[in-house]
Every structure is written in C-alpha cells, then in structure tokens.
Subunit: 366 residues, 4 copies
C-alpha cells in the first residue's frame, strides 16, 4: 500500500533510506500564496540534526534541504512542493555486518519477513533519517498555521525517571540545553543520567509533550478522523513511539468523572474551561483550549552491550553493535513530534472549512 | 470530510445517531466466500448491550442487527455488506433539556461550534450507540481473521485503581463477571468500587487490553500506515479513549535499552523473542508474536452530581444531568476495542498480500 | 477494495443488490445546515423510476426513499446521511435460469471469475438498480449546488441515429416526452425507432449530455483530480457507458488549433469565450463557462432474441432471456448522469476552498 | 487537495514544473523484488523525448532519469521509489511575455483564478513536461505487468482525418515513423498533413489507442473503481485529452443490442468472445479478452497565428505566441497513454488479490 502518504488535503509523501542518495518529501495540497524559502525549512531540520552534543551521534550530517518545485517568486503556487536532503556522510562499511543478523528492537527481522530482503545499510527505510522528510513538511505546515495565529511547540517532558517540574517551566530553556527540556534543573539531572547510561553502554527512553495554542474550535472530523485519532496515527507512526496520551491520558483512567470533567465557564465573554483534562479535544473536535499530547519513546535499540539474537540462517548468535548511536532518541525527536502535530492539525483545519453550508456560502460570496 | 470511513481494502462507513431511526455500517471490500449470518454479528453486539448488570444503564435496547446486502446463499459476495440496527426504546424527553447547555466532558459544545447546531438527543452522533456500527463490522473482520487462524480478544485490565493480577489471569472469566475482567478477584473488588462510586453519584475510568494471537509477520505498512499507527487511530477514534499503549507502552520510556530490547532466539526451528516489550510490532510491521495494545478510557462524563457549565447563550449555569448512564464505560467498550483491532489488522493483512513480486506471481500462477 | 466509495470531502458509499432487501447510500461529508427532506430526494428518484412509459420496463417499483440519519429538525447535521430504498416487487423466479449461464453483454461471467460466485437474481450488484443510490446522493449534491447558484441538468442527446437539433432545443421539453429529449420532433422519431426495435426484439443505445451552469472558475485539482478526470471516472462508473466526451470531445481530434482554441474576450467587464470547445475546463480546472459533458450508453444487453453463449460448465448453449427489460437505458440514465456530475462537481468545489492562503485567512477571520 | 496522487496500492505522487529545477515522481506501494534500473525507465522516457523529428519541438531535452530511493542491489525494496529528471535546457526568456496574458486553449487563466498567481514559465505545472513523471512511473508498472505476462502498448490511431487501416496494421511500424502509427501508409499521409498545417502556422489533433493483452479476468472493483472508470480518470487526467472510449465506444450508442453483445463461446477449453465491443471489460471487471481504450487529443493550443485574447488586466488584446511547439501532441503522448494504462491496470490487479477468501487462504497457507 501507499504507506508513505499521510493527509487528505495537505498530503505528504515521503521517500528515502538512510544510506541511499537522499531522503525527501512531496507536499501536495499546500495552499498557494504562502511565502516560503529553504531557510524556513532549514531551521526546523537543524533542530533534529545529529552531532550537536555528546548525547547525540557524532556523525556530521549536513542535512541541507533543497526545494525542487511548488515555489515561485518566493511563494507557494498550490502545486506539489518537492524537497530533498541529499545523504552525504554515510560510511556504509559501518553497517555491513548487520546485513546478516537481526538486531533486537530493530525492524531488520520484520522487513526481511515482509519484503523478502532489505536495504540493511543504517536501517534503510526504517532509519531515523526518514524523519527528515516529516520535519521538512512540518516546517511548512507550522508556517502556514502561524499565518493563522496558531502555534505548535514540543519539548522533552521526561528522560528515564527525570521529569520536568511545571513550577520551573520555561519554554525558551528547551533550546538552551541538549536534552530539549524547558526546565534547566531537570535538564541537568537528565544529562547526568545519560552520561551514566553511556558509560554502561546502555540507552534511555523518555516522553515528548506537544502543545497547540490558539487553535479555533471545530477542527476534527467524527468518527474515525477525530483530531485525537489522527494525532494518534501521526505520533505512533514515528519510530520508537510506544504510547500516546491526550490531555490527562492514562491518569484519566484512574479518575472519577467529577474530577475529570472540565467545567465550562464564561470569562469576559470568552468560553473557558476550569481544567483541561480533555487536552483540548471533545468528541474528536478541538474545543478552543490548548491541544496537549504526549508520546512515549522507547530507549535507543542500538546499544553497545553484547546481545543475543539470531541471524538470517535462523541460528542463535551473539552480537556487538558498532557505529555511532545516540544514547537517547528523545531530544532529536522533539521537532519530529512538533512536525507531525502541525501536519495533522493543518490538514484537519483545512477540511473543517467545509463543515457548514453557511461557511461555504460566505466563502464564495463575491 | 468523510470522517466516518476507515480502512483501505476492508473499509467501513458508519452512520447513525443515538435517537434517530437507527445506526448502521457499510462494510466494503470484504472478500467473497465468507460464511456469514446475522447471528455471527449478534453475538458481538450482545456483548456491548446495555442493561446486563447494575453497572450498565438499565435501558433495554434490542440492538438486533439486520444484514441488508452483500450476503447471498449464506456467504459474502464481495460486494458491500450493509447492516442496520434500528433504534427502538429511546425516550427523547429525557434529553430535551440538554439542547440548551453544554455538558462538561461531552461533545455538545464542539459539535455546536463546528456544525452550527446539533442533534442533541442522547448525544446524537457522538453517543456511545455509534459504536454499534463498529462492533457489527468488527464481528465480520474477526470471523474472517479466524478463518486464517488469527484470534483477537480484549478484556478489562483495570477499573480505577483495581488492576487484574496476571497470576490469576483466566480469559474465560471475563465473560463471567459484569466488568469483563479475566480475574475473578479483581472483578469483585472492581464491583465494590463501582457500587461505592454510584452511591457518590460519580463515575470511574479504566483500561482495556487487547491481544492478537497468531498474526503472521509482515503485516503493517511503513511509514504512516504502520500497524501500530493505524491501531492508534482506530483506538483513539473510540469516544472516551485518552491514551493508547503498545507493548511496554509508557513503561518503555523509563526503561534502558538493555531491558527493553526483545532478544530473538530459535526454539525448535521457530523464531521467538525472550520478551515482548515491542507488543508484537517492530518498525510498524507485525513480528509474529502477540500484538498487545491497551486503551485508557476516561470516566463516564454523565454524572449525577450538580455541575457548573455554560448554556447556549454563553451564561454560567448549574446543571443536574438526568437519564440513565453507566457509571463506567469500560466493560461495554471491551468488545469495541476488539472490533476496531480486528478491522485494522484485517485491512493491513489484506494490503500486505501485495508486498512482494514473488508472492504476487505465486498468487496468479495457475 | 472499497470500490463502492466515491469522493474526497463529499463522499458517498453505496450498497445493495437488485433482489436483496434494498439499495442504499451513506453520504458522508455533507455540510451542515442544508434544508433536506425525503421529498427532495424522491423527485430525483421518480425520474429514474421504471414503468413510466412503454419504453421502460413495466415493473412497478415503488422506490420510496427513507432518510435514516444525518438530518435533524429539517436540516443536515454534517454527520453521515444514510438513505435506503427497500426492494419490494422483485419476482425472483424470473431470474432463476440465469444462475447457470453467462448472458452476453452482462457482468455474469466477470463476477463469477472475480468472486467465485454471484448473486444472480436480476444482476445482483451489477443491476441498474444500483444507480438508485447514486441518484439519491446526487439529489443532495444538486440541492447544495443550487444553494450556491449552480445548476446541473442532463438530457438525451441521441438515440441510435436520431439526434436532437440544437435549433429546436427546449430544456423543458425533456420532461414532457418518455425519451427525455429536449426536442419534441427528435423525441417523436426516437419513439418510432424504439417501437420498431421492440418489434425486432432488439435494443438501442444513445448519448446523454449534461451541463453545469454558473460554476465558478477554479474548481478541479491538477493533475489526477482534474475536474474532467473525476467526471470521467464518475460517468464511466455508470453501467453501460462506453465513451465520455468533454466539450468538443472526439471532434477536437479532427480540428486544427485555430478552430479549437476558445478565444477569450471581455464583455461588460466579464471574462467570456467566443466558443466553448474546452467544455468549460482548462488544465482540469473550471473556467467559468458551462461545463459540457457527454456519455455514450451501449444498447440494453438483455434482448429477447435467441443468443449463443456458454454456461457455468463451460459448454456452448443457446439462450432466450425472459423477464422485463427496457429496450433502451438512456432515458432513465439521464438523471443518473446528472447525479454523478453533481456529486463530482460539489466534491471538487469543496476541495477548491483550500486553494489559497488568502482565502483561508478570509474564511477564519472573525 | 492532493490532486497529484493516483492509485490505491500502487500509488504515484508527481511533482514539478516545466522550468523549475526538475520533475519527478514518488512511486509508493511497488512490490519488492522487481529487478529495476534507470535504463528500464529511460527507454520509456526516450519515447516521449522532444526533438526527434521535424514534427516535434526542436528543443533538446536530456530527460535523464535518476532513481533516488527504493531500489537496492538491483531490485525494488517495497519502499517508495523516488525518481527525478532535472530540467536543463529551458530558456526562460522565451516565455516572459505570457506572464501577462491568457493564451487561448491553455490553463493560464484557470490557474490564476484558482491560485491567485502562477508559475508562467513554459506553462509551469500544466506543461506537458509534467507527463515525464507519469512515464517514469508507468515504466515500472509496465515492467511488473510484464513479469506477470501482461503487455500494454499504445499507438497513434488517427491524426486529423488520417486514420490507420487495420488491414495494414503492423505494431513494429509504430516505432519506425515519427507519428507512431502502426501503418506506414497512413503515417506518410499524416506527415504530409502535418507539414501542411505547419506551413499554415496551425496544429492538429488525433487519437491514441491502447491495448492490454493477457490480462486475467477479475481485475476492476465495482462500482466506482471499475477498470473502465479508473482508466477514464487516468486518461482524462492527461492534458489535452477531450474524449475517452472503451471498446466500441461511441459507436455502441448507435448499435443494436444484437450487434453490440459479444457472444461467449468455448474454443479448445478456453472461454472466448466472438467480438470485443466491450473492450475487455464487463461490469467494470476485466473479462480476459484484450482491453482496448482510446483517447482523443485536441490540437496543440500553442499556434503561431495571431490570436485574440485578454490580458491580466482584463483588456482585449492580440497575441503572437513565440517559442518552440509541436504541431501535434499525439505521437509523444502515445507513451503517456501507455504509462497511465499500465499504472491503472497494475493498481487494480493488486487490489483484486483480495477478492475471495479462498484466494487469501491459499496465499497465506504455508
């Protein structure tokens, strides 16, 4: 199937492998007239770039984006925007041995079972480099949402057991530390934890939280294309995500209705809610308060301890993974979560324009 | 948008409101030759039927399904299967007052904002009755999967703080108690909790777990139509679900790679894994072990305590919800989770038949 | 696949067989607020009803539509509109013999090859009754288009060699004669031809033309969802259609560019074209002039002459088809063409609302 | 909307403008294991290359394809195949004046109306160069079909009034003359006609016919995704196509049922038809005989005669188009028709694998 396509109106199709010629994306259905240049995309890509700290792989990837179509005289034309990031610095030899065995926690085995063989170099299509395409498309979605007054931002909420303290929350701080935490103190502790785990040749997981501010009510389509349902698909589609929560999330399962229900009230003529356990979504439709969503990432599967597994000949073996691997995925995944959220919200926002006859009549009235 | 449609090959389109003429579903793309009768569907619907215990609404709903098309001489024909459950016992007067205000935790406000008005009777399209259509379609998917040797079953994992103990796990037990728990002792405690909360005019949430057994490796399409991504959409599309986990889920975020990685090994010529933190899915593709997924349900939004909210005129008011409402959604949602899981797995299984040229050649060879 | 679904925003899913319990359609994505009642649908269905003249089958079909969902207090709610027409008067015995052989010109053979067996009663899913669902959905699309000032109408252009003369064109006339021709004289000749062919136990084909008036420029999405491409799919999906033309159609292939090019000019501040060989579509996008499209229908496949064919055991046999069959499909297909055109135009019109950032900004500005 | 995407399982997404950096396509859902190299694609692209005769534009376009992903060790991997053809030789100055007016027969006006502005260089997205992406994708589809024993080929059937004579039909001949006619004599007459029209600064239209041989019965999904319906969309999506016919096409509208019905008979244990007026498709499903389809192309819109039109300021003006333009589109469009047909047939063939439970069971049986 066309599993590499996402979205109904604002639709993206991604392609590329870790060690092929490059990775890229075609963004179809982007409205015309949005000012756009490569720098708009590059600032997003730079946030997921490796080699920025000792907790990220020391590979130097250029990850320079090129826009190939869909932009003319500095504005989107309404036709497909094709973007490419060429692969430059792969050292294929690093990966030659993984051709013959199945790394625990990776997709080697399932790709072989599904397709009969696989591009084993650096994980091929299942590599984290695939997310470059998402981030490039997300940068466009985020820019368009911004033109409508809507902001999307994500940050690291926790790494292992270290969680940010909301009383110290400072959004700017997330760009100041290598773990993307909006809390300097937690960021310090998290870095200590990571250093420790690196010494142990081990890796750690964590949680990313994403917020959408100023989204108008009415976005999301009952029943299967609910805003939360499509966000669920979007975030679970990111490699290494094992859980997704909206609003109170799992905590809601332990709450009583009298605690969980967000009470509406009027404040200066504005509809407000006392709490936001719903995470800004009721019945699958945005309610005007912040959309709050979280994704849990498993620890990096590539660790440097000796591991047991099997090879292609279905024999039990021991392996020692080489190469360069982040001890944690989370900090670099923050912008990926942000991108997927922006893409999803924009797509459903565009769809929501057709919800009422009166809205359509107003639109076409000269 | 066509938000009421789900699936690529095995595609369902649902319709209907709580107090309209009925609810139904069109199942398109069901392969021909599956033996099917209304009783096959009815046994699934009966599992979500209200009025079966004191913890479920005392409304007596018939919920008798009728197959209108797509079955001939006892077998599916490959053409759309239309199914309907007529609504019989609604008392519209119970709901007349909710026309004018927005119940906390419900979709009243967002439907009005999106569509300009809403069918307020019993929640209209956002009512739990909408899930009848999913269960009817899921019964077909489950039956077809069974013909391929694949089982899908769900059960209540927790209610409030009461969680089943795996040492007492007994799948048969889930059909023996009104809370659908596969653990008689936990079921007893959960019923005590529910009785207490009912006295307090309050409600409780919980968690449903679902397992897919004997699924072959290779099901799921990278990148956006991964098996976990589509299951994420499927489960988040169920009303009241606020979180979804695969395998180790949120726990994976606190684990080290050395703990989380499932080691492969050979056992009597069969590929096995020492653990199943991945929940049966690697890189979005089934790996041959059990698929394990969980959904967290918030507590029933309709509680009998006095609540603060606003009305349609945007004035602060107090309300007292009347009518008949379950103090918990979870036990009746178990079969809905099962249904959505079966639909998703079947759809991606059908798609996976086109993964390799050699498979296609084998299929068409005479 | 889900072959019974059409449309992206305004999406229809049809179901039902000739001799099953009924035929129906779920219309998903219809904007909220459209006044709608069953009578709005019925007037369209009555136009395709059989038994209205000696050239149409004498079966008395009720074809009374029932709206099951999606309408509340006389207006569409934005949720799926389910409609059903129950089958009443089928005499299954008429069709019992066709279970065992393959009628020339029918889908008996291909359904058996594809699905392994078929509902043979009256053609099952491939019966003309399937179009009831399209007409019901089309009635809604046409009503919504009318609210936007857009008209869609079709008529018989030719039957066999008898073609309407544009100098006598009178749209009202098409409802006055049993062959739906907007030219009384041609209609008379066509009826003579039909009487003659009925005596010869034979059938005739013809051409339906459809016009969309007052469609704004800008509707249609390059490259594969061009307005003409989707109209092409829509009309070819109608049983018995063997050719489709836009504007000058096949004649354009014999023209020179200097003849075919429609010259633009200004008339009282309005953009006009001297000719309309393009049929109102340039580059797949509506240009503001009339959209003109034609579909050619083959003669009714069921004729009463003795025919040679094969049976299910793959033996050569002679057959004599019984039952009641129109000697021509065209007059009853006129409203089907109109319906499919309205559905297609509306869907792409809704999509076109997202073409520009400035349009989106205007839409969401409070 | 995502108008640049086509297909359900074998899905293509195209991008690029005439004078941008390049044109390209992402082919998603191509089964793994197909041997594929750039030369396989290039031979198809070379068939649409301009500059090959005096009847094609003298522009020298390289049109060298590069495969960027989805192929590893000479075989497709099942992941998206991204292909690009860089634009090299455009002379943008040739087109600078058309920025300000609307050429008759072109999409200049409708693009401006839809998107607010357009990339005017060489027609931008509506240029014939867009078809490069289709041909590249079609080459893959055709190669895969060939592995299944299915051939797809197209040729020029007529140019202006000059039509091939079936008694002189010689398929090899189509590659021997610059008008792609499988009839040397007709090809000669057509070239005379073209020379004459070039002297008159005019252009001519024509008809392309395409045949699919050895397609198994059972391909095509009732009701809206019939094989003919999707072929209709596919061919109408090609710029300049104004009509499409299947089998007898428009002639069927003038035939009697006794002439049009294709009689089945057995020949050496094989199901055969005496005629093929159905064009290999009954009820939207392939019947095992040749699929025959035709597309009518209008004459090239760019002619060198003085024409009347309007400019962006909505003033009447006279224009003289410059640059290099083919006097006919047809010969270079032959391979485009072939490509779109192959893509459509392959996609529906893959879908048809899920038609029956017994087929699915056989597929998964070990």
């Amino acid at each position: 199937m066309a599993g590499s396509t996402f979205g109904t109106i604002f639709r993206i199709s991604t392609w590329g492998e870790s060690h092929g010629k490059g990775v890229g994306v075609v963004v179809d259905g982007c409205p015309a007239g949005l000012p756009l240049c490569e720098e708009d995309i590059q600032v997003y890509l730079d946030r997921r770039k490796p080699g920025q700290s000792k907790f990220a792989t020391p590979r130097k990837e250029e990850d320079a984006v090129e826009i190939l179509s869909g932009v003319f005289e500095g504005k989107t034309t309404g036709t497909p925007i094709s973007m490419i990031v060429f692969n430059h610095t792969q050292r294929s030899k690093d990966y030659s041995d993984i051709a013959n065995y199945y790394r625990p926690g990776h997709a080697d085995y399932t790709f072989d079972e599904k397709y009969g063989f696989r591009d084993y170099r650096g994980g091929g299509r299942s590599s984290g480099r695939e997310t470059i395409a998402r981030v490039a498309a997300g940068a466009i979605a985020a820019k368009l949402l911004k033109e409508l007054g809507i902001q999307v931002y994500a940050y690291t909420k926790s790494i292992g057991d270290i969680e940010i303290d909301n009383s110290r929350f400072n959004l700017e701080e997330r760009l100041e530390n290598p773990v993307c935490m909006p809390d300097a103190e937690a960021a310090g502790l998290a870095q200590e934890l990571l250093s420790e785990k690196m010494k142990e040749k081990d890796s750690v997981g964590g949680v990313v939280e994403c917020v959408v501010k100023n989204l108008m009510p009415g976005v999301g389509e009952p029943v299967f294309d609910k805003l939360d349902a499509k966000l669920g698909q979007a975030l679970f589609s990111i490699g290494a995500v094992k859980a997704v929560e909206i609003g109170a999330g799992f905590k809601a399962a332990k709450m009583c209705g009298s605690q969980d229900n967000d009470q509406f009230y009027m404040d200066n003529g504005k509809v407000c809610k006392r709490t936001n356990n719903a995470g800004g979504i009721l019945g699958g439709i945005s309610d005007g308060s912040d959309v709050v969503i979280r994704a849990a990432f498993k620890p990096t599967a590539s660790i440097f301890q000796t591991q047991n597994t099997i090879n292609k000949n279905h024999e039990n073996i021991e392996i020692n993974i080489k190469g360069r691997h982040d001890p944690i995925i989370v900090p670099r995944a923050v912008v990926v979560v942000e991108a997927m959220t922006a893409i999803t919200v924009l797509d459903l926002l565009l769809v929501s324009m057709t919800s009422t006859l009166s809205g359509i009549q107003k639109f076409f009235k000269k």
